[in-house]
C-alpha cells in the first residue's frame, strides 16, 4: 500500500514584485518519509515552507496540507511542527518558560508534556540551560530550543527550514536520530538545507530547487543517476542548478590556473 500523501502543492507561484520566488512548484510529501529541499540561497525554499505552513497565500496554484488549505484553516497547524529559518524567540524568557507557553497554547496534557520535554531536552543536551534566559544562549542552543518546540506535540508533519545551522556534529547526529524516530512513527518530514552531505545522509528523497523551480527530484540514488557522469550529490547539484561552469571558473582562478 503506497504511503498517504500528507501535503501537496501543485503549480504554486508566488512573486515579490518582479522576483519570482516560486515559479510553478509541484511536490508531494508522504507519510513516513524525509524529503530534502535543496537549493542555493534565494531559490524559494523558505517561501515554499511558509506557504505550506499557511503563513503566506500563493499567487496561484493549489496547496493542501492534511486535506485542508493551510492559509484558510490555521487550525491545521495543531498537527504541524515548524522550525523557521530566522530564529526570533523571546530573549527574556527561559527555555522552560517558552516550552510551557507552547504547551499551554497547544493545550497539551501536562504529565505527558513533561515526559516528552524531559526526553527531548536530555537527548539534545539542553537540560542544564533550562533556567537561562534565551537571549544568553548560543546560536546552537537556540536552534535546539526551536527544534524541541517543533517536536513537543509529536506532529504528523514536520517542516524544518535549515534546522541544522549552528548544531555541532554530535548534536546533529542525535537530531538525525530524532528525525528517524519521527519518520518511523509515520511523520512526514520536509527540511530545507544547502548542506549537501546532510541531505545525502538523512533524506529518503530530495528535491533540488533553483530560481523558484524544481530542477531535479527523486530518491538520492536516482538523482545521482540522473546525471550519470557525476559522482557526488555536490556535482549533481552544481550541474542541475547551472552553476557548475561558474564555480569551476572561480576554482580555477583561485588555484591560479586561469
Amino acid at each position: 500500500m503506497p504511503a498517504e500523501v500528507l501535503a501537496r502543492a501543485r503549480d504554486v507561484r508566488k512573486s515579490y514584485g518582479v522576483v519570482k520566488a516560486l515559479d510553478g512548484v509541484s511536490l508531494e510529501l508522504r507519510e513516513g518519509e524525509i524529503l530534502g529541499l535543496l537549493g542555493p540561497n534565494g531559490s524559494g525554499k523558505t517561501t515554499l515552507i511558509k506557504i505550506l505552513m499557511g503563513f503566506i497565500r500563493p499567487d496561484s496554484g493549489y496547496v493542501e496540507v492534511l486535506g485542508m488549505d493551510p492559509y484558510d484553516n490555521p487550525d491545521v497547524r495543531a498537527r504541524i511542527g515548524y522550525v523557521p529559518e530566522e530564529l526570533a524567540l523571546y530573549n527574556s524568557l527561559t527555555p522552560k518558560e517558552l516550552f510551557d507557553l507552547v504547551a499551554r497554547i497547544r493545550r497539551l496534557e501536562p504529565a505527558a508534556y513533561a515526559r516528552r520535554l524531559d526526553l527531548l531536552v536530555s537527548s539534545l543536551g539542553l537540560k542544564d540551560r533550562m533556567d537561562d534566559l534565551i537571549g544568553s544562549l548560543s546560536r546552537g542552543n537556540k536552534q535546539k530550543v526551536a527544534i524541541i518546540l517543533a517536536l513537543l506535540h509529536e506532529p504528523d508533519i514536520l517542516l524544518l527550514d535549515e534546522p541544522i545551522v549552528g548544531l555541532d556534529p554530535a548534536v546533529a547526529r542525535i537530531f538525525k536520530e530524532l528525525l528517524y524516530e519521527m519518520r518511523d512513527r509515520g511523520c512526514a518530514i520536509m527540511f530545507s538545507t544547502h548542506i549537501l552531505e546532510v541531505a545525502e545522509a538523512i533524506c529518503d528523497r530530495i528535491i533540488i530547487m533553483h530560481k523558484g523551480k524544481v530542477v531535479a527530484e527523486g530518491a538520492v540514488e536516482d538523482v545521482l543517476k540522473l546525471a550519470a557522469r557525476e559522482k557526488t550529490l555536490e556535482e549533481v547539484f552544481l550541474e542541475v542548478t547551472g552553476k557548475a561552469h561558474e564555480v569551476y571558473e572561480v576554482i580555477k582562478a583561485l588555484r591560479g590556473e586561469a
Partner: protein, 526 residues
C-alpha cells in the same frame, strides 16, 4: 585620533541610533521616510539641539529678566532674592532632567543594540572607541554646555558681581555631568540581562527594572514639579526660616541658595566651596558612570548570575493549561523583565504621582483629580496594551505556528494590562474611601478597571487585524491612533457623562455594559 575625525565617525554611529529610535518608537515607518530620516539625522539633530539649548537657556534666565527690564505697571517689582532662587532651581532641574533623558535614551540604545561591537574589529585604539562612544551617547547633550555659561553671564549682568555668576555656572555644569553619569550607569545596569533562577538573579532583574521605571518616573515628575518646587521653596524658606539654613547644603536647593549667599561676602566662601565640591562630585560620578557603561558595552551583555545546573522538569498545573493563560503569564513575565514594557504598564502610577503635588496643596480637589486619574489611566492602559503587542517583537510566528487564536491573544494582553492596573487602582480607591470618606471612590476605581479592560480589548481587537505569522513588528499609524482615540472616547465618553450628571452607581452600570460589549467583540474573533 583627532577630534574632527572622531566627530565624523560618530556621525555613522549616530545615524544608526536615529534609525533604531525611528523603528522602535514610531510605528508604520515606511522605508522612504526612514531613509530620509536617517539621511537628515545630523541636520535634524543640530536643529533640535539648538532649539533645546535656546529653550533651556531662556527658562534658566527667565526669572531674572524682570530685573533687567522691570515691568512698568507693577509697583513693587520682583525681589532679587526670589528671582535668584527661582532661576537657580529652574536651571539645575531642567539641565539635569533634559540631559538625563536624552543621554539615557542614547546610551541605552548604544548598549542594547551593541552598536559599539562592530568598531572593535576596526583598527582603532580602545581609547578612540571610548571617545566615539562618549560623543555619540552625549551628542545631543553637548550643546547644553553653553547654557550654564549664558546663565552665568546673565547673572553677572543682573547682580554685577562675578561670584554668583561663577557659582551659577558651576552648578549648571555639575547638573549636566551628574545627569550624564546617572544615565550612563543606569543604562549599564538595565541592559545587563541577569539569567538564572537563583534569588540573586531574580533580585538583580527586579532591581534593574525598578531602577529604570523610577528614574523615568522621577524625571517626569521633576519636570512636572519645577514650578511647584520654586513656589514651595520660597514658601518654606519664608515660614520655617531655621530649616532653610540646612537647605543650602542639599542639591539642587544648594544651587539656589548658593546664588543668594554669594551676594554677601561672609557667606560667599562656604557657598563657593560647596559649589566646587558639587562640581567635583559630579565629575567623579560622571567618570564612574561612564566607565561602567563602557565596560558593559565591550563585554558580553548577558551576565550569568546562577551557574548552570540540571533541573527537574515539572509538569505545569492542569489549571493553567489554556492559551490565554499561557500568553498572560508570558506577558507579565516579559514586562517585568523589560523596563520599556514595564514602564508602559506603570504609567498609571505616574499619573497618580504627578497629581500628588496638587493633592497635597488642595485636599478638596483630591476627589475630582483622582476621578480624572482613573479615567486617564484607562487611556494609558490602551496604549500599554499596544506596547504589549510591540513587545512581541518579531516572534509572532511562534504564537501563530503553534495555533494561537486572536481571541486568546487579545484577551491575554488586555488582561495583563487590566490586572496590573487593578493592583494599583483598587488599593488607591480603598485608601481614598478610608481617608476622604465617600465609598464612591472605591466604586469609581472598580469601574475604571472594567473600563480599562473594555477599552484595551476593543482597541487591541482593532489593532490585531494587522498582526499575523509574518509580522516582524506590530505597527500603528496615525490613522490607527485616531481610530483608537475615537474608540476609547466611545467607550469611556458615556461613562464619564453619566458619572458627571447622574452618579457613580449608574455610571458603574455603563462600565459593566462596556465590559459586556468587549466580551461580545472578543467572542466574534477567531
Amino acid at each position: 585620533m583627532r577630534l574632527r575625525e572622531a566627530i565624523r565617525l560618530s556621525d555613522f554611529l549616530y545615524r544608526e541610533l536615529v534609525y533604531l529610535r525611528m523603528v522602535s518608537t514610531r510605528a508604520n515607518v515606511d522605508m522612504a521616510r526612514l531613509r530620509r530620516g536617517v539621511r537628515w539625522a545630523s541636520i535634524n539633530y543640530a536643529l533640535v539641539s539648538a532649539i533645546m539649548t535656546v529653550m533651556l537657556a531662556l527658562s534658566s534666565i527667565s526669572p531674572l529678566l524682570p530685573l533687567i527690564w522691570p515691568p512698568q505697571d507693577t509697583a513693587g517689582g520682583v525681589e532679587l532674592v526670589d528671582a535668584l532662587r527661582a532661576s537657580g532651581l529652574v536651571s539645575t532641574a531642567m539641565l539635569f532632567t533634559f540631559s538625563f533623558m536624552l543621554c539615557a535614551s542614547a546610551s541605552w540604545l548604544l548598549q542594547e543594540y551593541e552598536l559599539l561591537k562592530p568598531l572593535m574589529h576596526l583598527p582603532l585604539k580602545h581609547g578612540d572607541i571610548r571617545l566615539l562612544a562618549f560623543i555619540t551617547a552625549s551628542r545631543e547633550v553637548l550643546p547644553f554646555l553653553l547654557v550654564p555659561a549664558i546663565h552665568g553671564i546673565t547673572l553677572m549682568l543682573v547682580v554685577g558681581l562675578p561670584a554668583p555668576a561663577l557659582i551659577g555656572a558651576s552648578y549648571g555644569y555639575a547638573s549636566i555631568f551628574l545627569a550624564l553619569g546617572a544615565s550612563f550607569s543606569l543604562s549599564a545596569t538595565v541592559s545587563r540581562r541577569h539569567s538564572g533562577r537563583s534569588l540573586r538573579a531574580r533580585l538583580a532583574r527586579a532591581v534593574s527594572t525598578l531602577t529604570f521605571v523610577l528614574c523615568m518616573a522621577s524625571t517626569f515628575i521633576l519636570s512636572q514639579m519645577v514650578s511647584l518646587i520654586t513656589r514651595l521653596v520660597s514658601q518654606i524658606s519664608k515660614f520655617i526660616g531655621p530649616f532653610s539654613s540646612l537647605l543650602w547644603l542639599i542639591y539642587p536647593f544648594s544651587a539656589a541658595e548658593g546664588l543668594i549667599m554669594a551676594l554677601s561676602p561672609t557667606s560667599l566662601i562656604p557657598a563657593s566651596a560647596l559649589a566646587a565640591a558639587y562640581l567635583l562630585a559630579s565629575l567623579l560620578a560622571f567618570d564612574r558612570g561612564f566607565m561602567r557603561f563602557w565596560r558593559g558595552s565591550i563585554s558580553p551583555i548577558y551576565v550569568g548570575v546562577g551557574e548552570a545546573r540540571e533541573v527537574r522538569i515539572r509538569p505545569p498545573s492542569k489549571l493553567t493549561m489554556s492559551p490565554c493563560f499561557g500568553v498572560l503569564l508570558k506577558d507579565l513575565k516579559m514586562a517585568y523583565r523589560d523596563p520599556r514594557t514595564a514602564y508602559m504598564l506603570f504609567t498609571p502610577i505616574l499619573t497618580f504621582l504627578s497629581f500628588l503635588p496638587a493633592l497635597i496643596e488642595d485636599a478638596k480637589a483630591a476627589i475630582m483629580l483622582l476621578n480624572t486619574a482613573f479615567l486617564a489611566s484607562s487611556l494609558m492602559l490602551t496604549m500599554a496594551s499596544y506596547q504589549l503587542l510591540v513587545a512581541e517583537g518579531s516572534s509572532f510566528w511562534l504564537l501563530f505556528a503553534n495555533g494561537i487564536r486572536k481571541k486568546d491573544l487579545i484577551s491575554a494582553k488586555a488582561l495583563a494590562c487590566t490586572l496590573s492596573y487593578a493592583a494599583l487602582a483598587i488599593p488607591i480607591g480603598a485608601l481614598a474611601w478610608l481617608l476622604l470618606g465617600p465609598l464612591d471612590m472605591l466604586l469609581n476605581a472598580t469601574s475604571s478597571v472594567l473600563l480599562s479592560f473594555a477599552a484595551s480589548s476593543i482597541c487591541l481587537a482593532y489593532l490585531a487585524r494587522y498582526v499575523g505569522p509574518e509580522t516582524k513588528m506590530a505597527k500603528m499609524g496615525l490613522k490607527d491612533l485616531l481610530v483608537i482615540l475615537l474608540l476609547w472616547g466611545i467607550i469611556v465618553g458615556p461613562y464619564a457623562l453619566v458619572a458627571l450628571i447622574i452618579g457613580p452607581l449608574q455610571a458603574s452600570l455603563i462600565a459593566i455594559a462596556d465590559l459586556g460589549i468587549a466580551l461580545i467583540v472578543l467572542s466574534t474573533l477567531h
